[in-house]
Protein backbone atom coordinates (compact mmCIF):
# COMPACT_ATOMS: atom_id res chain seq x y z
CA UNK A 1 0.00 0.00 0.00
CA UNK A 2 1.26 3.36 -0.90
CA UNK A 3 2.12 5.71 1.89
CA UNK A 4 0.96 8.62 -0.23
CA UNK A 5 -2.35 9.78 1.17
CA UNK A 6 -4.71 12.64 1.11
CA UNK A 7 -2.50 15.09 3.02
CA UNK A 8 0.21 14.85 0.40
CA UNK A 9 -2.13 15.87 -2.35
CA UNK A 10 -3.50 18.61 -0.20
CA UNK A 11 0.04 19.79 0.42
CA UNK A 12 0.67 19.92 -3.30
CA UNK A 13 -2.57 21.79 -3.70
CA UNK A 14 -1.51 24.21 -0.99
CA UNK A 15 1.80 24.80 -2.68
CA UNK A 16 0.09 25.38 -5.99
CA UNK A 17 -2.31 27.77 -4.39
CA UNK A 18 0.39 29.70 -2.59
CA UNK A 19 2.51 30.01 -5.69
CA UNK A 20 -0.50 31.09 -7.70
CA UNK A 21 -1.24 33.64 -5.07
CA UNK A 22 2.27 34.96 -5.20
CA UNK A 23 1.97 35.20 -8.93
CA UNK A 24 -1.27 37.08 -8.73
CA UNK A 25 -0.09 39.40 -6.03
CA UNK A 26 3.37 40.22 -7.26
CA UNK A 27 3.26 40.16 -11.03
CA UNK A 28 3.26 43.45 -12.79
CA UNK A 29 2.33 41.79 -16.01
CA UNK A 30 -1.38 41.30 -16.47
CA UNK A 31 -0.81 38.09 -18.34
CA UNK A 32 1.28 36.84 -15.47
CA UNK A 33 -1.65 37.51 -13.18
CA UNK A 34 -3.84 35.43 -15.45
CA UNK A 35 -1.36 32.60 -15.12
CA UNK A 36 -1.50 32.89 -11.36
CA UNK A 37 -5.26 32.61 -11.48
CA UNK A 38 -4.92 29.44 -13.53
CA UNK A 39 -2.57 28.02 -10.91
CA UNK A 40 -5.01 28.78 -8.13
CA UNK A 41 -7.81 27.11 -10.03
CA UNK A 42 -5.61 24.08 -10.55
CA UNK A 43 -4.87 23.97 -6.86
CA UNK A 44 -8.58 23.87 -6.18
CA UNK A 45 -9.02 21.13 -8.72
CA UNK A 46 -6.31 19.04 -7.15
CA UNK A 47 -8.08 19.34 -3.85
CA UNK A 48 -11.44 18.48 -5.36
CA UNK A 49 -10.16 15.36 -6.99
CA UNK A 50 -8.12 14.34 -3.98
CA UNK A 51 -11.15 14.62 -1.76
CA UNK A 52 -13.20 12.79 -4.33
CA UNK A 53 -10.72 10.00 -4.34
CA UNK A 54 -9.93 9.69 -0.68
CA UNK A 55 -13.01 10.96 1.10
CA UNK A 56 -15.98 10.58 -1.15
CA UNK A 57 -15.36 6.96 -1.87
CA UNK A 58 -16.02 4.66 -4.82
CA UNK A 59 -18.92 5.40 -7.10
CA UNK A 60 -19.21 9.02 -6.06
CA UNK A 61 -18.07 11.60 -8.58
CA UNK A 62 -19.05 14.96 -7.14
CA UNK A 63 -15.47 16.13 -6.82
CA UNK A 64 -14.64 15.22 -10.38
CA UNK A 65 -17.79 16.90 -11.65
CA UNK A 66 -16.78 20.01 -9.83
CA UNK A 67 -13.30 19.86 -11.25
CA UNK A 68 -14.74 19.64 -14.73
CA UNK A 69 -16.87 22.68 -14.09
CA UNK A 70 -13.83 24.50 -12.76
CA UNK A 71 -11.90 23.63 -15.91
CA UNK A 72 -14.76 24.94 -18.01
CA UNK A 73 -14.89 28.15 -16.05
CA UNK A 74 -11.12 28.47 -16.28
CA UNK A 75 -11.35 28.27 -20.01
CA UNK A 76 -14.00 30.93 -20.10
CA UNK A 77 -12.01 33.02 -17.66
CA UNK A 78 -8.93 32.70 -19.81
CA UNK A 79 -10.83 33.92 -22.81
CA UNK A 80 -12.32 36.85 -20.98
CA UNK A 81 -9.02 37.58 -19.30
CA UNK A 82 -7.28 37.69 -22.59
CA UNK A 83 -9.87 40.05 -23.92
CA UNK A 84 -9.50 42.28 -20.88
CA UNK A 85 -5.74 42.24 -21.15
CA UNK A 86 -6.05 43.26 -24.70
CA UNK A 87 -8.45 45.99 -23.75
CA UNK A 88 -6.08 47.25 -21.10
CA UNK A 89 -3.26 47.17 -23.54
CA UNK A 90 -5.25 49.12 -26.04
CA UNK A 91 -6.23 51.67 -23.41
CA UNK A 92 -3.01 52.18 -21.53
CA UNK A 93 -0.59 51.04 -24.15
CA UNK A 94 0.85 48.79 -21.49
CA UNK A 95 -0.16 45.84 -19.44
CA UNK A 96 1.82 46.90 -16.43
CA UNK A 97 -0.69 46.90 -13.62
CA UNK A 98 1.38 49.50 -11.79
CA UNK A 99 0.16 51.97 -14.30
CA UNK A 100 -3.44 50.88 -14.20
CA UNK A 101 -4.29 52.45 -10.86
CA UNK A 102 -7.49 54.20 -11.74
CA UNK A 103 -8.93 52.85 -8.48
CA UNK A 104 -6.68 55.25 -6.67
CA UNK A 105 -8.58 58.20 -7.79
Amino acid sequence: MSSIGLPHFLAVGAALFALGMVTVVTRRNAVGILMGVELILNAANVNFIAFNHFVEGPGRLTGQVFSIFVIVLAAAEAAIGLAIVLAIYQTFRTIDVEETDLLRE
Binding site: R28, G36, V72
Partner: protein, 291 residues
Protein backbone atom coordinates in the same frame (compact mmCIF):
# COMPACT_ATOMS: atom_id res chain seq x y z
CA UNK B 1 48.49 7.69 -39.43
CA UNK B 2 50.82 9.34 -41.98
CA UNK B 3 47.94 10.76 -43.93
CA UNK B 4 46.71 13.71 -41.92
CA UNK B 5 43.73 15.78 -42.69
CA UNK B 6 43.91 17.16 -46.11
CA UNK B 7 41.94 20.15 -47.27
CA UNK B 8 40.07 19.98 -50.55
CA UNK B 9 36.75 18.47 -51.44
CA UNK B 10 37.76 15.02 -52.74
CA UNK B 11 40.40 14.52 -50.12
CA UNK B 12 38.05 15.87 -47.49
CA UNK B 13 35.32 13.40 -48.28
CA UNK B 14 37.69 10.51 -48.11
CA UNK B 15 39.28 11.84 -44.98
CA UNK B 16 35.90 12.25 -43.35
CA UNK B 17 35.01 8.72 -44.25
CA UNK B 18 38.26 7.46 -42.84
CA UNK B 19 37.77 9.40 -39.64
CA UNK B 20 34.25 8.08 -39.35
CA UNK B 21 35.56 4.59 -39.80
CA UNK B 22 38.17 5.35 -37.17
CA UNK B 23 35.47 6.44 -34.70
CA UNK B 24 33.41 3.39 -35.44
CA UNK B 25 36.48 1.17 -35.09
CA UNK B 26 37.49 2.84 -31.85
CA UNK B 27 33.99 2.46 -30.44
CA UNK B 28 33.89 -1.16 -31.49
CA UNK B 29 37.31 -1.79 -30.06
CA UNK B 30 36.69 0.05 -26.83
CA UNK B 31 33.24 -1.44 -26.40
CA UNK B 32 34.46 -4.86 -27.25
CA UNK B 33 37.38 -4.61 -24.87
CA UNK B 34 35.20 -3.33 -22.09
CA UNK B 35 32.54 -5.93 -22.69
CA UNK B 36 35.17 -8.62 -22.93
CA UNK B 37 36.63 -7.39 -19.73
CA UNK B 38 33.33 -7.22 -17.99
CA UNK B 39 32.12 -10.59 -19.10
CA UNK B 40 35.40 -12.55 -19.09
CA UNK B 41 35.50 -15.31 -16.59
CA UNK B 42 39.25 -15.41 -16.53
CA UNK B 43 40.87 -13.91 -13.47
CA UNK B 44 42.27 -10.46 -13.97
CA UNK B 45 46.04 -10.80 -14.40
CA UNK B 46 48.58 -8.10 -15.04
CA UNK B 47 48.95 -9.11 -18.70
CA UNK B 48 45.27 -8.89 -19.36
CA UNK B 49 45.11 -5.46 -17.56
CA UNK B 50 48.00 -4.20 -19.75
CA UNK B 51 46.34 -5.52 -22.92
CA UNK B 52 43.05 -4.04 -21.81
CA UNK B 53 44.53 -0.63 -21.09
CA UNK B 54 46.49 -0.60 -24.34
CA UNK B 55 43.46 -1.54 -26.33
CA UNK B 56 41.47 1.20 -24.64
CA UNK B 57 44.24 3.67 -25.22
CA UNK B 58 44.32 2.80 -28.89
CA UNK B 59 40.58 3.01 -29.11
CA UNK B 60 40.58 6.41 -27.41
CA UNK B 61 43.31 7.65 -29.68
CA UNK B 62 41.41 6.49 -32.74
CA UNK B 63 38.23 8.01 -31.37
CA UNK B 64 39.95 11.30 -30.83
CA UNK B 65 41.47 11.21 -34.22
CA UNK B 66 38.14 10.40 -35.76
CA UNK B 67 36.43 13.14 -33.78
CA UNK B 68 39.17 15.48 -34.85
CA UNK B 69 37.64 15.50 -38.27
CA UNK B 70 34.22 16.63 -36.98
CA UNK B 71 34.40 18.23 -33.54
CA UNK B 72 37.77 19.76 -33.17
CA UNK B 73 38.35 21.20 -36.60
CA UNK B 74 40.28 24.02 -35.12
CA UNK B 75 42.35 21.79 -32.98
CA UNK B 76 44.42 19.74 -35.41
CA UNK B 77 45.82 16.82 -33.51
CA UNK B 78 48.04 14.46 -35.22
CA UNK B 79 51.26 12.68 -34.69
CA UNK B 80 52.91 12.88 -31.36
CA UNK B 81 50.56 15.54 -29.91
CA UNK B 82 47.64 13.31 -30.68
CA UNK B 83 49.11 10.42 -28.80
CA UNK B 84 50.16 12.64 -25.92
CA UNK B 85 46.75 14.21 -25.69
CA UNK B 86 45.17 10.81 -25.97
CA UNK B 87 47.40 9.55 -23.16
CA UNK B 88 46.44 12.47 -20.95
CA UNK B 89 42.80 11.97 -21.72
CA UNK B 90 43.14 8.33 -21.02
CA UNK B 91 44.75 9.06 -17.68
CA UNK B 92 41.99 11.41 -16.71
CA UNK B 93 39.35 9.01 -17.83
CA UNK B 94 41.08 6.21 -16.08
CA UNK B 95 41.15 8.07 -12.82
CA UNK B 96 37.55 9.03 -13.32
CA UNK B 97 36.56 5.52 -14.14
CA UNK B 98 38.47 4.22 -11.24
CA UNK B 99 36.75 6.65 -8.95
CA UNK B 100 33.34 5.87 -10.31
CA UNK B 101 33.75 2.17 -10.46
CA UNK B 102 35.83 1.69 -7.39
CA UNK B 103 34.62 4.33 -4.92
CA UNK B 104 31.43 6.13 -5.85
CA UNK B 105 29.88 3.23 -7.70
CA UNK B 106 30.02 0.73 -4.91
CA UNK B 107 28.94 3.39 -2.45
CA UNK B 108 25.98 4.46 -4.48
CA UNK B 109 25.12 0.89 -5.28
CA UNK B 110 25.15 0.01 -1.66
CA UNK B 111 23.09 3.03 -0.69
CA UNK B 112 20.62 2.33 -3.44
CA UNK B 113 20.36 -1.26 -2.41
CA UNK B 114 19.53 -0.10 1.06
CA UNK B 115 17.02 2.62 0.05
CA UNK B 116 15.29 1.06 -2.91
CA UNK B 117 13.35 -1.58 -0.99
CA UNK B 118 11.66 1.18 0.96
CA UNK B 119 10.71 3.28 -2.04
CA UNK B 120 7.42 2.31 -3.64
CA UNK B 121 7.21 2.91 -7.28
CA UNK B 122 3.90 4.69 -6.78
CA UNK B 123 5.50 7.07 -4.33
CA UNK B 124 8.24 7.75 -6.77
CA UNK B 125 5.73 8.51 -9.46
CA UNK B 126 3.80 10.78 -7.15
CA UNK B 127 6.96 12.58 -6.17
CA UNK B 128 7.81 12.96 -9.80
CA UNK B 129 4.51 14.53 -10.62
CA UNK B 130 4.51 16.63 -7.47
CA UNK B 131 7.95 17.98 -8.16
CA UNK B 132 6.98 18.63 -11.74
CA UNK B 133 3.88 20.49 -10.69
CA UNK B 134 5.43 22.55 -7.95
CA UNK B 135 8.53 23.23 -10.00
CA UNK B 136 6.41 24.41 -12.88
CA UNK B 137 4.36 26.58 -10.61
CA UNK B 138 7.49 28.04 -9.03
CA UNK B 139 8.86 28.79 -12.44
CA UNK B 140 5.64 30.50 -13.33
CA UNK B 141 5.77 32.52 -10.20
CA UNK B 142 9.37 33.51 -10.08
CA UNK B 143 10.68 33.46 -13.62
CA UNK B 144 11.79 36.83 -14.91
CA UNK B 145 10.80 36.07 -18.45
CA UNK B 146 7.18 35.83 -19.32
CA UNK B 147 7.85 33.23 -21.97
CA UNK B 148 9.64 31.04 -19.47
CA UNK B 149 6.74 31.53 -17.15
CA UNK B 150 4.38 30.26 -19.79
CA UNK B 151 6.50 27.21 -20.51
CA UNK B 152 6.78 26.50 -16.78
CA UNK B 153 3.04 26.68 -16.65
CA UNK B 154 2.94 23.90 -19.17
CA UNK B 155 4.89 21.67 -16.79
CA UNK B 156 2.63 22.59 -13.95
CA UNK B 157 -0.42 21.67 -16.00
CA UNK B 158 1.06 18.42 -17.07
CA UNK B 159 2.10 17.56 -13.55
CA UNK B 160 -1.43 18.23 -12.35
CA UNK B 161 -2.75 15.99 -15.08
CA UNK B 162 -0.38 13.29 -13.88
CA UNK B 163 -1.66 13.75 -10.35
CA UNK B 164 -5.20 13.34 -11.66
CA UNK B 165 -4.24 10.06 -13.21
CA UNK B 166 -2.61 9.08 -10.01
CA UNK B 167 -5.87 9.82 -8.24
CA UNK B 168 -7.83 7.63 -10.59
CA UNK B 169 -9.45 10.55 -12.35
CA UNK B 170 -8.84 9.68 -15.95
CA UNK B 171 -11.34 11.94 -17.60
CA UNK B 172 -10.30 15.11 -15.75
CA UNK B 173 -6.69 14.28 -16.55
CA UNK B 174 -7.41 14.15 -20.23
CA UNK B 175 -9.57 17.25 -20.01
CA UNK B 176 -6.74 18.99 -18.19
CA UNK B 177 -4.33 18.22 -20.94
CA UNK B 178 -6.73 19.10 -23.70
CA UNK B 179 -8.19 22.26 -22.25
CA UNK B 180 -5.36 23.70 -20.24
CA UNK B 181 -2.43 22.69 -22.29
CA UNK B 182 -4.21 22.79 -25.59
CA UNK B 183 -6.49 25.74 -24.93
CA UNK B 184 -5.64 28.00 -22.05
CA UNK B 185 -1.92 27.87 -22.46
CA UNK B 186 -2.23 28.65 -26.13
CA UNK B 187 -4.47 31.56 -25.31
CA UNK B 188 -1.92 32.85 -22.82
CA UNK B 189 0.81 32.58 -25.35
CA UNK B 190 -1.36 34.49 -27.76
CA UNK B 191 -1.88 37.14 -25.12
CA UNK B 192 1.85 37.41 -24.60
CA UNK B 193 2.48 37.70 -28.22
CA UNK B 194 -0.24 40.28 -28.72
CA UNK B 195 0.90 42.50 -25.91
CA UNK B 196 4.58 42.16 -25.46
CA UNK B 197 7.01 43.69 -27.79
CA UNK B 198 9.98 41.49 -27.26
CA UNK B 199 13.13 43.51 -26.95
CA UNK B 200 11.36 46.82 -26.87
CA UNK B 201 10.56 47.02 -23.22
CA UNK B 202 12.35 44.31 -21.27
CA UNK B 203 11.37 45.90 -18.01
CA UNK B 204 7.79 45.04 -18.64
CA UNK B 205 8.33 41.44 -19.41
CA UNK B 206 7.85 39.88 -16.05
CA UNK B 207 8.91 42.06 -13.17
CA UNK B 208 7.68 41.60 -9.65
CA UNK B 209 6.00 44.14 -7.47
CA UNK B 210 7.00 43.16 -3.99
CA UNK B 211 8.42 39.73 -4.21
CA UNK B 212 9.69 39.30 -0.63
CA UNK B 213 6.32 40.12 0.87
CA UNK B 214 4.60 37.83 -1.61
CA UNK B 215 7.03 35.05 -0.94
CA UNK B 216 6.57 35.45 2.78
CA UNK B 217 2.83 35.29 2.34
CA UNK B 218 3.19 32.21 0.20
CA UNK B 219 5.45 30.59 2.74
CA UNK B 220 3.04 31.24 5.56
CA UNK B 221 0.15 30.01 3.48
CA UNK B 222 1.91 26.83 2.51
CA UNK B 223 2.99 26.21 6.07
CA UNK B 224 -0.49 26.76 7.42
CA UNK B 225 -2.31 24.75 4.80
CA UNK B 226 0.16 21.90 4.91
CA UNK B 227 0.05 21.82 8.64
CA UNK B 228 -3.69 21.63 8.48
CA UNK B 229 -3.62 19.02 5.74
CA UNK B 230 -1.48 16.75 7.85
CA UNK B 231 -3.03 17.51 11.21
CA UNK B 232 -6.69 17.43 10.33
CA UNK B 233 -8.40 14.14 11.09
CA UNK B 234 -9.64 13.39 7.59
CA UNK B 235 -12.37 10.82 7.28
CA UNK B 236 -10.85 8.85 4.46
CA UNK B 237 -12.34 5.75 2.90
CA UNK B 238 -10.60 2.45 3.41
CA UNK B 239 -9.90 1.53 -0.19
CA UNK B 240 -9.99 4.21 -2.89
CA UNK B 241 -11.07 2.93 -6.28
CA UNK B 242 -9.23 3.29 -9.58
CA UNK B 243 -12.14 2.53 -11.89
CA UNK B 244 -12.62 4.51 -15.09
CA UNK B 245 -14.87 7.46 -14.43
CA UNK B 246 -15.79 8.72 -17.89
CA UNK B 247 -19.03 6.79 -18.07
CA UNK B 248 -20.02 7.80 -14.60
CA UNK B 249 -19.26 11.45 -15.33
CA UNK B 250 -21.28 11.35 -18.49
CA UNK B 251 -24.28 9.93 -16.68
CA UNK B 252 -23.86 12.43 -13.85
CA UNK B 253 -23.73 15.38 -16.24
CA UNK B 254 -26.88 14.35 -17.99
CA UNK B 255 -28.85 13.41 -14.90
CA UNK B 256 -27.84 14.84 -11.61
CA UNK B 257 -25.88 17.83 -12.88
CA UNK B 258 -27.91 18.57 -15.95
CA UNK B 259 -28.81 22.10 -14.96
CA UNK B 260 -25.27 23.16 -14.02
CA UNK B 261 -24.06 21.48 -17.18
CA UNK B 262 -26.40 23.58 -19.26
CA UNK B 263 -25.44 26.66 -17.33
CA UNK B 264 -21.79 25.89 -18.02
CA UNK B 265 -22.51 25.80 -21.73
CA UNK B 266 -24.32 29.12 -21.48
CA UNK B 267 -21.40 30.56 -19.55
CA UNK B 268 -19.01 29.37 -22.22
CA UNK B 269 -21.14 30.93 -24.90
CA UNK B 270 -21.37 34.16 -22.98
CA UNK B 271 -17.61 34.15 -22.46
CA UNK B 272 -17.10 33.60 -26.12
CA UNK B 273 -19.37 36.45 -27.07
CA UNK B 274 -18.04 38.66 -24.33
CA UNK B 275 -14.45 38.10 -25.29
CA UNK B 276 -15.21 38.96 -28.84
CA UNK B 277 -17.15 42.06 -27.88
CA UNK B 278 -14.60 43.36 -25.45
CA UNK B 279 -11.63 42.74 -27.68
CA UNK B 280 -13.27 44.09 -30.82
CA UNK B 281 -14.58 47.21 -29.20
CA UNK B 282 -11.24 48.11 -27.78
CA UNK B 283 -9.54 47.48 -31.04
CA UNK B 284 -11.99 49.75 -32.78
CA UNK B 285 -11.34 52.47 -30.25
CA UNK B 286 -7.65 51.91 -30.60
CA UNK B 287 -7.85 52.19 -34.34
CA UNK B 288 -9.68 55.45 -33.95
CA UNK B 289 -7.15 56.67 -31.45
CA UNK B 290 -4.27 55.61 -33.57
CA UNK B 291 -5.59 56.74 -36.83
Amino acid sequence: MANGPQPGPPGALREAAMRGLAILASLLLGGGVILARLFSRAPATLETWVVFCLALYLALTAFLWGLNGFAFRRLPLSGIPLFLFSAAAFGVLFLLGYFVGGVAGPFLGDAASRIIPYVHIADAVFLLFAVMTIGGAAGTAFSRNIIYSAWSLLFAFLGVAGLYVFLGADFPAVAQVLIYVGGVLVLILFAIMLTKQIGEDPKLTNAHLDLPAGAALALITVATLTYMAFMAPWKTVASPSYEPTSAGLGVAFLTEYLLPFEFASVVLLAALVGAVVIARKEIKETSETVL
